[in-house]
Assembly symmetry: C2
Homo-oligomer: 382 residues x 2
């Protein structure tokens, strides 16, 4: 019993599709004509439309944030432990929206979609999209749903970058930002890991310069390696040590290039699984969006200036063993917010799980988020 | 001026080849028939043959440790800043030996050699070799050179593992072990990075199950990715931040998959360079030797028991920002040595350079090694 069994799921959910015909000018300079976004909602939008919470996804996730599909009950949303009736983000009080970002591979317009200009699949020609572009497209979705202002925008990792960007791009449209396991930009080391992943994909002969759909193939080998290297950065060294250590797969060494250690088996499994369901062109674009995110850049590197427009209240959470986006990086955000005298709550959660901790059911972490949403709920008079 | 310009090089050097006809039984159970080792020596072996120092190489290096080649003066040995007249390992006092390990790709018998049993290049059929096998083959080289006992065996990283293994396998044949930037075994995270590198190589279509020589090709793509991921682990996060940070290659973002950030350019360059001169089958075997090294394993994980036979004196050095083999890992060795009441000097050098620090010309580090060799020299009555 971890204390969650008595909480309820949002139950069977159904994705919706929103169509946007007005072209979207992207940060790259390119313009995307019409596009579609797939999204899910949980809970009920109140009469004042004031209880909406947008949940932004990170690298490999999508709009299926909570609940399950009636025809696929094992397909549970990626943040189901966080969102549902009685859960930290309580769907009996809030109206929660999950959306697959532009360029994604789970239904929203992306590299696998047909380019209306050519009648062919976009593939490599799908433009590079940024965190800012995603936020702009999410704002249009809010318009379509009649939501003028979000009670909160929330995310972990790359999802948290979107929450942060919301406070800068649309300060009047966001009451609270929940910025979890985040950094104000990628370090050289972070970019380096992304670049290894990209090179593994791009140099896979099955990549065909990004037009692999036309060849009825995909760069599975590259995507596997990309996911393996990613996975190393999601777990802490300690967590790997306690979960796998030097445990042998078959009890003894075989002196071959087959799996010897459990950690090798785990990584290969993760790589295989990922390459079965994820799209390489999407992966490339998401890592680029991570690389590019740097709100301070257009303010001479001054994050305090970048966050000056923000009026939201903030909950910022980091995890002690997260070496991908370490607590030090979250503290840069805190400093910039305090420079602007913003309302900030900050916690460093002592958790062994590394970057992935934001997805896990840690009691202290979840209590904190629950308490924060209680406060938002009270402010709304809900 | 960093204080080294007044020190001399060992000058132009020439490699030698030693031939061994007695079969070598390997840890894997396989037996290697005759084999050759390429080696270099610097300085003069004294009459008592007591001043020999063996320098063991790490992942991508070889027997060319110091000096240069008359016909290729830019090809300077990989530890030339450490070894030479007046340098920390002073070749006016010591006779220094560098050897390319078995399975290597710089002249010693390895995957690119011809298998006498078949008349074909070994390729994938070359056996898996371990640190213990290397040490055994190095002992035979010592025999051939008439060296009964090394004044010292020295190495960094994987080279240090060989020095450590010398103290266990041939305690009577080694006076001092210099164990630099080492760990008593790889962590799960270390193995994970090696496995990513191996999978990048093995799944490259040009790998041809290790028989790529016969196809007149090599898995260049895989080797590039392997080297890129390795490089990330050799540098510290801080060093990457100060060397590259988020510096753009062309002064502005281009929103393409070409190089945007300097760190990407650096990694691609390192990957390309490496794949031009290194052999993939050798790389696979060296990463395996790293994975397998674990002297405590056959003592129920008790490193103190494993080091019980060792009688050498030890200089152990770690570097504060080395996250591949952190100071904590060196302290495990220290604890085990102290449990055995061995003579140990230990230093943690405050250096920003990460794991690669052992190769760099850090004044405090070099002074320490120089002082230690002074002591060895005095003990020898030299």
């Amino acid at each position: 019993m971890d204390g969650t069994q008595d909480k309820l799921s949002v139950g069977a959910v159904t994705p919706s599709v929103a169509r946007f015909d007005e072209p979207l000018k992207l940060r790259s300079g390119a313009t995307l004509g019409g596009y579609e976004l797939v999204y899910e909602t949980y809970g009920t939008l109140n009469a004042g439309k004031s209880n909406a919470v947008l949940v932004c996804h990170a690298l490999n996730a999508a709009h299926h944030v909570a609940g399950y599909y009636a025809d696929d009950p094992d397909n549970v949303g990626w943040w189901d432990n966080m969102i549902g009736p009685g859960k930290p983000l309580d769907t009996t009080r809030f109206f929660v929206i999950g959306v697959n970002n532009l360029g994604g591979c789970f239904g929203s317009t992306g590299p696998r979609s047909v380019n209306p200009a050519t009648g062919r699949v976009w593939g490599a020609d799908f433009p590079v999209v940024t965190v800012e572009d995603w936020v702009a497209s999410q704002a249009r979705l809010a318009d379509q749903l009649g939501i003028q202002r979000f009670a909160a925008v929330m995310g972990g990792s790359l999802g948290a970058m979107q929450a942060l960007s919301w406070t800068i791009q649309y300060p009047e449209r966001i009451g609270h930002a929940l910025v979890i396991a985040c950094a104000p930009n990628l370090s050289a080391q972070n970019i380096a890991f992304n670049e290894v992943a990209r090179q593994a994909i791009i140099t896979d002969p099955d990549f065909h310069a990004g037009h692999y759909y036309e060849h009825n193939t995909q760069p599975t080998r590259g995507l596997r390696v990309a996911r393996m290297v990613g996975h190393i950065t999601y777990l802490s060294d300690d967590e790997m040590a306690s979960k796998f250590g030097r445990q042998l797969r078959n009890g003894k060494l075989n002196y071959t290039f087959d799996v010897e250690f459990e950690i090798e088996s785990y990584l290969r499994h993760q790589g295989n699984k990922f390459s079965d369901y994820f799209d390489a062109n999407t992966y490339l674009r998401i890592t680029k969006a991570l690389d590019y995110f740097d709100p301070a850049a257009e303010h001479g590197g001054n994050l305090s200036l970048a966050l000056e427009p923000a009026t939201a209240s903030f909950l910022v959470i980091s995890f002690t063993t997260d070496w991908r986006f370490s607590p030090e990086r979250s503290r840069e955000i805190i400093k910039a917010l305090l420079d602007n005298r913003r309302d900030v709550t900050y916690a460093e959660i002592d958790a062994p799980h590394g970057h992935d901790a934001f997805l896990l059911d840690d009691a202290r972490y979840h209590r904190l988020v629950a308490a924060y949403f209680d406060r938002i709920s009270k402010d709304l008079g809900a």
